[in-house]
């Protein structure tokens, strides 16, 4: 008999919740628990983390159980998990770059970084389009937020 995973997503998410809940219980154990009457700072988070771990365990276990009866495709009709690694990294990098740049390098460079990283696919194939998007967004943002709303941000490196 071959073991098939009926619902890979449920199994993965269940294990993820089990891990998060377990981590919350271990990390949260450093805070004073107290009693139900006089709860310390650790009581409530520990209970919630335990609940998450429990739900995760149940979810993972039931996903294994349904697998036996399931005969159809291994992913329950949907395709395999799509990782989209490059857009994931580029967009996360854009957001982080905005955070690194906004305070000292100013709004203009921060937006430029988001647009350049966000449009990674077209940087070489359609450079003018990316340039145009960047310039328009910079113009709108500087006019609206710095001049219009008077946000206390620099436009350019101070």
């Amino acid at each position: 008999m071959r073991l098939r995973i009926g619902d890979a997503r449920r199994l993965t998410s269940g294990l993820l919740f089990l891990t998060i809940g377990g981590f919350g219980m271990i990390y949260g154990a450093r805070y004073r628990m107290g009693s139900a009457t006089h709860m310390g700072p650790g009581y409530f988070p520990f209970a919630v983390a335990a609940l998450i771990a429990l739900l995760g365990a149940v979810s993972a276990a039931t996903s294994l159980r349904t697998e036996i009866g399931q005969v159809e495709g291994p992913e329950g009709g949907r395709g395999p998990i799509q990782w989209h690694i490059v857009p994931l990294l580029c967009i996360l990098a854009g957001v982080v770059a905005f955070g690194l740049l906004i305070e000292h390098a100013g709004l203009v460079l921060a937006i430029a970084a988001v647009v350049i990283l966000g449009c990674y696919q077209r940087l070489l194939t359609r450079p003018l389009e990316v340039l145009a998007i960047g310039l328009v967004l910079i113009a709108i943002a500087v006019a609206l937020f710095i001049h219009g709303l008077g946000m206390p941000w620099h436009a350019f490196p101070a």
Partner: protein, 499 residues
């Protein structure tokens, strides 16, 4: 004061030139941003938050509400024209709205949607005016155990209404509650789960969480699967619905409004279930159910009315009990808290001008939406032709600005990036992020009330079952879970029967 006096007070606040302008600006901007495919109410509110921070409290809430219902309304335009739900609530509008557009009847579909929205909005405003004060006085009777059970009910209901497995969504809500405990514990002053970062002392910014989980995670998924969108095939030829359209729509609009208002008052439900329930009801009542899915106008009119009625009546539990329904509503409530207004049973009494001003502005805003949308529908439709590859860099930039503007903290951007990663994973694993946001906003209240309830009962957990209001809330939660999971079960059965 009688209701009439209150409404008069409200209009006197709402029609001052400044507040009127902010109402108009909110409704207009909400519609403008919300019409873009892929931009739901959560993203729209997050992007437009910076515009509301510097305003006085009343103007700010008026503008935020305008953005909120504007964004809810414009989702249907995207659904009809592109068959692309800009937000989950318009999924239902796609079913019959888009076939109408393909038959060259996009104009009447949009006009009926606008009329349905307006009518539902008018009724919802009246319901808010009449039901909020009594509900607030009920709220004043709530003890800590009752509040804790009410929050549990809201979280459980929100979880039960998602399409995914109940265990998964409950775990997401619990995860939100756990994230809500991050930061300083108000009772002991202990700083929890800060990982040595003082930036987390004040807790997790829910704007960062919402933007990361919804806006950024959506962009990552869409860009990853970037294929050019379906071109805009449908054209708008005439706006005016025929007499037959109006005749068919009127009862559907009435029923949709009733369903939306009834569900809207229940905390935790969110507008999706209302529009879905309305659609199912119209199909059941129709003489010829086979027309549905092929451009039946009732399938647009009913759900759109239900959607807007629910979106507005959600303000009742949000403003009078401090319990938001759905993620967009939670974000709105969070923005109010940033403004220093704590929604709850005392709000109507202590901020009468604010409450009634907002209620009156909702009516004005809905009228404005009708006036704006019918002539401007051509412009909205042209906006839909903007390709996603041009649109998403703007979403990224304005969301970054929105997150940063809340407290000028760069840490919030890093947090949003972490949430974007988590949101991407959750999306891949079919875990809906909406219960998490609700848990995050309600978590601190849940902990506070649970602790107080158990302190009063000397650690006796049965207090949640012996207090009558608390028991009623828990029973309601169980009933709702049972009803909704059973109807979901029946749906699955039906889909299996005729795929």
């Amino acid at each position: 004061m009688s209701v009439v006096d209150n409404i008069a007070l409200g209009f006197s606040v709402a029609v001052t030139p400044q507040n009127f302008l902010y109402c108009l600006a909110g409704a207009f901007l909400g519609t403008l941003v919300g019409v873009f495919p892929g931009l739901g109410p959560v993203t729209t509110i997050a992007m437009l938050l910076p515009f509301t921070f510097k305003l006085p409290a009343v103007a700010s809430l008026i503008m935020l509400s305008g953005i909120y219902y504007g964004a809810h309304h414009s989702g249907s335009t995207t659904a009809v024209m592109l068959n692309m739900p800009g937000e989950p609530t318009s999924v239902v509008i796609c079913i019959d709205g888009h076939p109408m557009a393909r038959q060259g009847r996009a104009g009447p579909a949009l006009a009926i949607a606008a009329l349905a929205s307006f009518f539902a909005g008018c009724v919802a405003v009246v319901i808010i005016a009449f039901f909020s004060p009594p509900l607030a006085s009920v709220g004043l009777m709530f003890g800590p155990a009752d509040y804790a059970s009410l929050i549990v009910m809201a979280l459980v209901t929100a979880s039960a209404l998602s399409s995914e497995s109940l265990i998964t969504t409950t775990a997401m809500a619990a995860l939100g509650v756990l994230l809500g405990t991050v930061g300083t514990d108000v009772n002991s002053g202990t700083i929890r789960f800060d990982f040595g970062r003082s930036a987390l002392d004040d807790g997790v910014s829910f704007v960062a969480a919402a933007v990361g989980l919804f806006a950024f995670a959506d962009v990552i998924t869409h860009v990853g699967a970037l294929h050019e969108r379906v071109p805009l095939s449908a054209k708008i030829t005439g706006l005016l619905p025929t007499r037959a359209d109006l005749k068919a729509s009127t009862p559907a609009i009435l029923r949709g409004t009733a369903i939306g208002s009834a569900f809207g008052i229940l905390p935790g439900t969110g507008p999706l279930i209302s529009s879905f329930a309305s659609y199912v009801m119209e199909r059941q009542l129709a003489k010829d159910p086979s027309r549905f899915g092929k451009g039946a106008i009732e399938g647009v009119a009913g759900p759109e009315a239900a959607n807007n009625a629910a979106a507005l009546t959600h303000f009742i539990p949000m403003l009078t009990l401090g319990i938001p329904a759905g993620a967009a509503n939670a974000l709105l409530m969070g923005a109010l808290i940033i403004q220093g207004i704590a929604p709850g049973p005392l709000l109507i009494e202590q901020h009468a001008d604010l409450f009634w001003g907002v209620v009156a502005s909702m009516w004005i805003g809905n009228l404005m939406l009708l006036v704006l949308n019918l002539p401007l529908v051509g412009i909205w439709v042209r906006l839909l032709a903007i390709p996603y590859r041009v649109l998403y860099p703007a979403v990224l930039v304005f969301c970054c600005i929105g997150v940063y503007s809340v407290s000028n903290a760069t840490f919030d951007l890093y947090l949003a990036a972490v949430f974007a990663f988590a949101g991407f994973i959750f999306k891949q694993l079919d875990c809906s992020p909406a219960p998490l946001i609700l848990g995050l906003v309600l978590g601190p209240m849940l902990e506070e009330n649970t602790r107080r309830a158990l302190l009063l009962s000397r650690g006796d957990f049965t207090v949640f079952l012996t207090e009558p209001i608390s028991l009623a809330m828990l029973i309601l939660a169980v009933v709702l879970v049972f009803v909704f999971s059973r109807s979901a079960f029946r749906d699955r059965q039906a889909r299996l029967a005729n795929p």
